[in-house]
Symmetry: C2
Subunit: 700 residues, 2 copies
């Protein structure tokens, strides 16, 4: 590649001083790339993004540590940072690493998503592969493949096939991210907390402890940065451990086995990703992680239909109904028929029913020993209801709560999805409610168990096994208490959504359980990783024991345009939904699949306003959420298609709306004719939001 040739300089060095290295010859294969040894710190290889603004440099130091550094427009984004591994049964691949050579490539392509926030994704990057060998008798080899995009950098380790390193037992990964410490970060605690259901915190970068990814940062006066990973397959998820002063290092989720990860070479690790964006729209609309995942392996997935659903769920979350059998059992045949009727009446494709199966009566939390994923409880006529739903053009949504016991679940996996498919249940929600380190995996012998982490290698394998098994039967999967999203929906498009953050349910469990800025944090953090089954649409704005939501009525509609998922719930009791006919009409119409999506206004943790275009029509939608600070946005309709006239049907906060009082129920309706370039002052109340449908035609 001519373009790349200029971007690449390579010299050989050992990164070690002294006669030991001088005695070594360059590997013959690398002859063209090798010049004579230079001193530690010399640039061994470098590459740049297609726009030339992001530059990567590879060096080694006196001890032979492998180092990478990233600059953006001449400014350091990642200072020289170490790479490597501790192994449980061999010397670390960390010190004494000798640079062997580098190779480059570049790519420019466009690919289509079967569903998502946008139809087409551009993948344009320059690639640099650097190869190292340890200065030791075994001469173990490792490579690092970097991809530089205009919107960030991804890199992964590659363990080649080699005699001296077959089984790779990784004690921990030692990948550093040394950032300029000035600036702010938005994060949730990582470490041994297995789940992601925590409120986002904002601190100086220098004060970030061990956190989950994605973690979002804004360097002082500089770009936004989001550190995460892509294509987490057969490996442990990592936590980002802060050491203060902007220094971070990966820590892999532990395993009940010694190594946190065990693989056989040749293999590649997941990609470590660094989104770099000058603006929030660039940060939010980046497809970096999707581009680093492999293309669709399932072929035609048109059998999955992005859609909305209702369900027998909020009744349990709000404490009115129970999962367990008994007088308060939620999942009864009669009630399910009512929900199916409602769904048919209002154009919801799906009806989720939790507590339909056997195993809920005892103590299932972190145990799950009694769960059956094929047998319904007596007062739930599974087959009859599936047939009734079919007759109404509705599909039941399956539910597989495991209590964290994957030993029990995996035994039934194939039968469970086979049955779902046979019954037209083509979307299934899974669940892994358990305590610390509480995933119960099969042990080596019958009756034995292995206690694993929600994001360790074993559970990462489990999630993909579930997705693959489901795909075999043309069923889509929506895991709760999941592993974080790393873009695998590109490769397995039936992995349609997941939880992995504090969803609507927290608004039921305590008053204002999710504070008003929660969703405005999610947009710029958790949502960078992929779709979330947030379950919006609690139009009654009330949870258990009368707990009020930190939300106005309009915000509940705004959530449908803000928090993307190809399966969107209307979470409230159906009678509450029907009590709000105008809001219900919006929810019935709002799409779950888009051809374009744009962040048109926002600030991290304060507010976010999106414009999205329906993938199946010319309609545009705009909507957003606000924190506790009331504000008026001067909305720019520049996103609309030129030359068209739209009728905007607007749902917005009333002038005296606020989440703090009963005024949270106040909403204002408006409709007006708009064209591209028009502007509109839009009021967002404290804890408020807004939503609008823009239909092309003659206007209103």
């Amino acid at each position: 590649m001519k373009a790349m040739a200029a971007l690449l300089t390579v010299v050989a060095t050992s990164g070690l001083s002294g006669p030991a290295m001088a005695a070594q010859d360059p590997a013959p294969g690398d002859a063209p790339l090798l010049a004579q040894a230079t001193q530690p710190g010399a640039v061994l290889a470098s590459a740049a993004s297609p726009d030339g603004r992001t530059v990567l440099q590879i060096t080694t130091d006196n001890d032979g540590h492998m180092l990478y550094a990233v600059k953006r427009a001449g400014k350091a984004v990642v200072e020289p940072s170490r790479l490597g591994f501790n192994l449980t049964d061999q010397y670390a691949l960390y010190r004494k690493m000798r640079f062997e050579g580098a190779e480059t490539k570049s790519a420019d392509s466009r690919w289509e998503q079967p569903w998502g926030e946008r139809r087409f994704v551009t993948d344009r990057h320059n690639e640099l592969l650097v190869r190292f060998r340890r200065d030791e008798p075994g001469q173990r080899r490792i490579a690092v493949r970097f991809r530089l995009f205009d919107d960030g950098v991804g890199f992964r380790y590659e363990f080649p096939d080699q005699a001296s390193l077959k089984t790779v037992n990784i004690a921990d990964e030692l990948t550093e991210f040394v950032l300029p410490p000035e600036g702010n970060a938005w994060w949730i605690p990582g470490g041994e907390w297995n789940r992601y259901e925590q409120l986002y915190q904002k601190t100086p970068i220098a004060a970030v402890p061990t956190v989950h990814t994605p973690v979002t940062m804004q360097l002082a006066g500089g770009p936004y940065v989001s550190i995460h990973e892509a294509a987490l397959v057969d490996y442990s998820g990592y936590w980002l451990k802060g050491y203060g002063g902007g220094r971070f290092r990966t820590t892999l989720a532990p395993s009940s086995e010694g190594p946190r990860v065990t693989r056989t070479a040749p293999f590649n690790t997941p990609w470590r990703t660094i989104r770099i964006a000058d603006t929030l729209p660039q940060l939010v609309e980046s497809d970096l992680e999707l581009n680093l995942n492999e293309p669709n392996k399932l072929g035609d997935v048109s059998w999955f239909k992005p859609a909305k659903y209702v369900g027998i769920w909020w009744g349990m979350i709000s404490g009115k109904w129970s999962w367990a059998e008994g007088p308060t059992h939620g999942a009864t045949t009669a009630r399910t028929r009512d929900y199916i009727d409602f769904a048919a009446r209002h154009g919801f494709r799906g009806v989720l029913v939790e507590g339909w199966n056997k195993g809920w009566n005892g103590d299932w939390f972190g145990t799950g020993e009694e769960f059956s994923f094929t047998e319904a409880v007596p007062d739930f006529d599974l087959r009859g209801l599936a047939a009734y739903a079919k007759s109404k053009g509705v599909h039941l949504i399956g539910h597989h709560e495991t209590g964290g016991n994957i030993a029990v679940y995996e035994r039934q996996l194939d039968a469970a999805f086979a049955q779902n498919a046979a019954l037209g249940i083509d979307v299934t929600k899974t669940g892994y409610v358990a305590d610390l380190g509480g995933i119960i995996a099969p042990g080596d012998r019958p009756g034995e168990v292995r206690m694993e982490y929600h994001d360790g290698q074993r559970q990462v394998r489990h999630h993909l096994d579930v997705v693959k098994t489901a795909a075999k039967y043309k069923v889509a999967v929506n895991p709760h208490e999941p592993v974080k999203d790393t873009g695998l929906r590109r490769t397995y498009p039936n992995w349609v959504a997941r939880e992995g953050a504090r969803g609507m349910e927290y608004n039921s469990w305590e008053p204002f359980g999710n504070p008003p800025n929660h969703e405005a944090n999610l947009v710029y953090t958790r949502m960078l990783s992929g779709p979330m089954d947030f379950t919006p649409g609690v139009l009654s704005l009330v949870g258990s024991n009368g707990n009020p939501l930190a939300s106005t009525l309009a915000k509940q509609l705004g959530l449908y345009v803000t928090i993307y998922s190809p399966i969107q719930m209307a979470a409230d009791f159906i009678e509450n939904l029907e009590a709000h006919p105008r809001e219900l009409e919006f929810i019935s119409k709002v799409p779950a699949d888009w051809s374009e999506s744009h962040l048109i206004a926002g600030a991290i943790g304060e507010y976010a306003m999106f414009a999205r275009k329906d993938r199946n029509s010319q309609d545009w939608y705009a909507g957003g959420v606000n924190d506790a600070t009331a504000r008026t946005l001067n909305l720019d309709f520049g996103f609309l298609d030129p030359g068209k006239t739209y009728c905007a049907t607007i749902y917005k906060d009333a002038p005296d709306s606020t989440y703090l009082t009963e005024a949270r129920h106040k909403i204002a309706y408006d409709s007006r004719t708009v064209r591209k370039g028009d502007r509109l002052d839009l009021f967002l109340a404290s804890g408020g939001g807004a939503a609008m449908r823009l239909a092309p035609g003659k206007g209103c």
Copy 2:
């Protein structure tokens, strides 16, 4: 025990609500202790310290978590905090724990140390043993034994012999310490950093990250608290992980095996300790951890002689000599003879020689494959020098640097100590210089290795194996890059000292490498755990490349009275020591064994002044160290024996001394007659210190 009866209240409860528990009968054996179930949160058992000021309460919560809480004079020191374990192969012993009963005991005794900071130690405590059983088919049982002293609390878990829990595979320990968050803490980072050679930091308690123990805190307006552990045997050391808001939890050092600790029941964990002190002298002079260790298992250890030593060491640290063979090799026969002559001349018992053995020539850091612990290099006449030393009444001090490779070391262990003993080498310094997770243990098959942590169970076992092997040959051990001290010197008095903090060497590697307040931090943190081989006595006040020490000349003498070790080095080149005859005389005379030790003035991280009484005479010594702030202490001689007259020989900073300039070499001498109750204004320069010998008699 009548006294205890009043202190003890016990009722039975399940800590769980609902019929499941109501259905369970109390264990018959506990009948006398059991009443009917009470609601969660009710006090199940309690106990108090002998002075009644420290009170412990045991409760459970709705989920059946085991909780303990500690109050001091009615004020919370530890809020209700959880106890328990994650296991790799069974459900956690954490939730669903049912209280079974409690037992009490009390003790009051005094025991004698063979050597130390004081001759006699008082052990007076009340004990509470609480027993729990998990609400599950296996009914696994666990007990927690608490000991309440006037100066703090210790507790350990006890796993009884039981059918349902034989091999205990601990994934992690879940012991919480929830402290009032207001107040300050002094700490060094823990986590995967294996060694302790870091500078102490002071932060609010709420901002403490993962740290090593002991960690020292001062609760707002309340007592000083030091959290640590005692009797770390066949278990992993723990790091104290801060979650903010004063909440901490133990994290065990990892293992190359799955479980961080594997034991067979019955067994007990190490003691988790909480020193509680109203004053700094109480904090510093507490024997809590020693009292929680088992008595001397070695019998007569009079063969170990507390003493001072010089050595061929600073020459390598300062870059003048090398460990490896060659023109700059430090450990030559001729030079060692000079050091032996010097030691004999000035009354030093020991001569340490590093680089005497084979294995230093290649890359030994984190490798150690070539080390021999019996074969000397050609230019070091081991046997001849040992004989020469003996003829002079001097003993060579052995040196076993492993580079972290205990696989190589353990193969030679017995032979190495047998040879040392045969040569009169009755003290040996060991070393484990290695990278992260860099302890190289033998693998399962020949040629295989297991990479372990400096403070993991495997290395904890190794250290005790070394100490026991050495004891067999009547050799004392002084490990560098050790595991933290947990008071095992009481049980194995040949474990005489260790490094485990930033010692003198850092003053050589960079200018002011240890800042002036470093030693004033060590006194109140690291030194709470036990003796340190700090290696004071660099009278030239200069390290490599002319790097100046952050110390005045007087401070170097003050260190001998401040930083206790039964083996104290005079670290400088012998020609530099002889260039300071008056200071050398003090070092020659100052004891390494005391009958009493008292902190007589000080503030954490600012200064510390000790008074100690020679164990082998009626002489008292006083001395201390200062930070960068010059100050004058009004020293109170109240520590002296009544009715006696002393001549005080005083070494102090000159009025214009400061560590910042060449004036660091300025020292003032004084001698005066003093009696108990006299006072003396004592000037401490910036980076300064003072030392004095007080000999009873007619005065000066």
